[in-house]
């Protein structure tokens, strides 16, 4: 039985797809057979970030509608063993995701995979509800700003009431906060909410803090999950987040802003 993790936020542009790519890559690196599923039908991006857009033949909707088998649609990642991508359809709309269809596909995948990472679309409409419905765990991606935190609060409420676990009265979905685009200097200048502010409002367990970094943008543009950029702070922070997801204890790193270079430290730059 696979563990189903939804990566969600409510608000758009906060880093859901970046997070889905890195978390799934991290899980696969640890040896877990992992699939990352793009639920953003009509606006697919995941295949770009995973650098497999040229290998998409069949997609999630084709599988739901029985036009292709799961094995035909799943794309094996070339860099990391055990990692598979199920891309979204660009030409359909989100209504093509039916509850029964999604259930059927996830059930089939559950038999062979250890982790299924569902990359949710923004918003709280049908597509987002489909992505979170089956979740066992949720990674709520939040930027340190008021509107993003508000939307995350909203999506947490929806997780508690509209997920399958809630409907069946089972143990609730395990919620994790992932704070992205964190810039300590801007926090200190009062331009961003601090980690404490966000924790205070959302009060869920912290999975990690990803520093704002040019490396994330570069990696996305090159089609590399940023977790593979070992020497970047963002990559390290994602690796920590994966470790915490697997139950390991890791201290929070990279909270003190940009590391000062050796010379700068010497000469007090």
């Amino acid at each position: 039985m696979a563990r189903i993790i939804v990566v969600t936020s409510g608000k758009g542009g906060v880093g859901k797809t970046t997070t889905s790519a890195s978390i799934s890559t991290g899980l696969a690196q640890r040896g877990y057979k992992t699939a990352v599923i793009d639920f953003d039908v009509g606006l697919r991006n995941l295949d770009l970030i995973m650098n497999c857009e040229r290998r998409v033949v069949y997609d999630f909707v084709n599988v739901i509608q029985g036009e292709a088998t799961l094995n035909q649609a799943l794309i094996r990642d070339k860099r990391v063993e055990n990692l598979f991508i199920l891309p979204a359809s660009q030409t359909r709309d989100k209504e093509a995701l039916t509850a029964e269809g999604v259930q059927k596909v996830l059930d089939e995948m559950s038999e062979t995979f250890d982790y299924l990472v569902c990359d949710s679309p923004a918003g709280i409409e049908h597509g987002a509800l489909m992505a979170l419905y089956h979740a066992d765990e949720a990674i709520v991606v939040t930027n340190p700003e008021v509107s993003s935190v508000r939307d995350s609060d909203r999506i947490l409420g929806i997780l508690q009431s509209k997920s399958r676990r809630a409907e069946e009265g089972r143990e609730p979905v395990k919620e994790h906060l992932l704070l992205t685009r964190y810039n300590n200097e801007r926090v200190e200048r009062g331009e961003m909410l601090s980690l404490e502010d966000v924790n205070d409002i959302l009060s869920i367990s912290l999975l990690g803090v990803i520093p704002e970094s040019q490396a994330v943008l570069n990696a996305s543009n090159q089609g590399t999950p940023v977790i593979l950029e070992d020497d970047s702070e963002a990559g390290g922070a994602y690796a920590d987040a994966v470790a915490r997801l697997l139950g390991e204890e890791r201290p929070l790193r990279f909270l003190d802003g940009q590391k000062k270079g050796f010379l700068k430290r010497m000469f007090g730059g």
Binding site: R150, R154, L156, G157, I158, Q160, S161
Partner: protein
């Protein structure tokens, strides 16, 4: 596919009776003057047309001062109908009223505090919010309700009887309502409405007042009016006479 469905339909009773509670708008009638009623109603509707369209309405007679004989329910229904308001029934009043209501094919509800309305600070917003998800899990302790999970944006928690106790934050965009007091052991960032059945002695207690709206028995204040010394401090909101006041909790 069709066969099992057909047998399932045959086996199931064609209806089941269930208890349900619904928040209704009550028109508390003080006296009956068809012309004045028509005029005032039109004024009210102009302020919030969407709220009144096809609104189910109960005529409340707990505060009725006129004679039962003056009450012409047919005329009253007619006036409401011309403004597309649906009169469901009558609440309160004596046996005469009850008979009159029955003659006019209106349901009769016992008077008192059984189905008083929620305060209606902003009718359009109120109706828009009626499509909420179910609230976080709660335990009911006889009269009253205990909530241990955060109440999040878009959620609504309602204690139709007694007090509501919340041992977690109430987020911005969340709404908590109670017939009695509301205790929040955490910050109140959303809306809190105490004494929704008209209990003017109800209070709202919270550890940090950051509310979007607080209301006691229909008297409300919005965030803008709460930005005084008590903002972001432990506070109690209560009704003093007709004025909603905020007091610090610590002294």
């Amino acid at each position: 596919m069709s066969e099992p469905a057909a047998t399932a339909t045959e086996n199931r009773a064609c209806f089941e009776l269930r208890g349900a509670s619904q928040t209704l708008t009550v028109m508390e009638l003080h006296h009956f003057d068809p012309d004045a009623l028509e005029r005032d109603l039109r004024d009210k509707i102009r302020q919030a047309p969407n709220f009144f369209r096809d609104l189910p309405l109960v005529i409340g007679l707990d505060h009725y001062e006129g004679n039962a004989a003056d009450l012409d329910f047919f005329q009253l229904i007619g006036i409401c109908r011309t403004h597309s308001i649906q009169v469901l029934g009558v609440r309160g009043g004596d046996d005469d009223i009850r008979r009159l209501a029955r003659n006019a094919a209106l349901a009769w509800l016992p008077g008192g505090q059984t189905s008083a309305p929620r305060p209606v600070p902003d009718p359009e917003q109120e109706t828009a919010e009626n499509t909420e998800e179910s609230a976080p899990e709660t335990t009911s302790t006889g009269a009253g309700r205990l909530v241990t999970q955060p109440v999040r944006s878009g959620q609504q928690v309602y204690a139709p009887e007694g007090d509501l106790i919340i041992m977690a934050p109430v987020g911005a965009g969340a709404e908590v309502l109670a017939a009695g007091h509301i205790h929040i052991y955490g910050p109140l960032r959303g809306r809190a409405l105490a004494g929704v059945h008209g209990d003017t002695s109800a209070s709202i207690f919270c550890q940090s007042l950051e509310a979007e709206l607080v209301s006691v028995a229909g008297h409300y204040k919005i965030s803008e009016d709460l930005q005084g010394d008590d903002w972001r401090t432990p506070a109690r909101v209560r009704l003093e006479g007709d004025v909603l006041t905020v007091d610090p909790l610590t002294r």
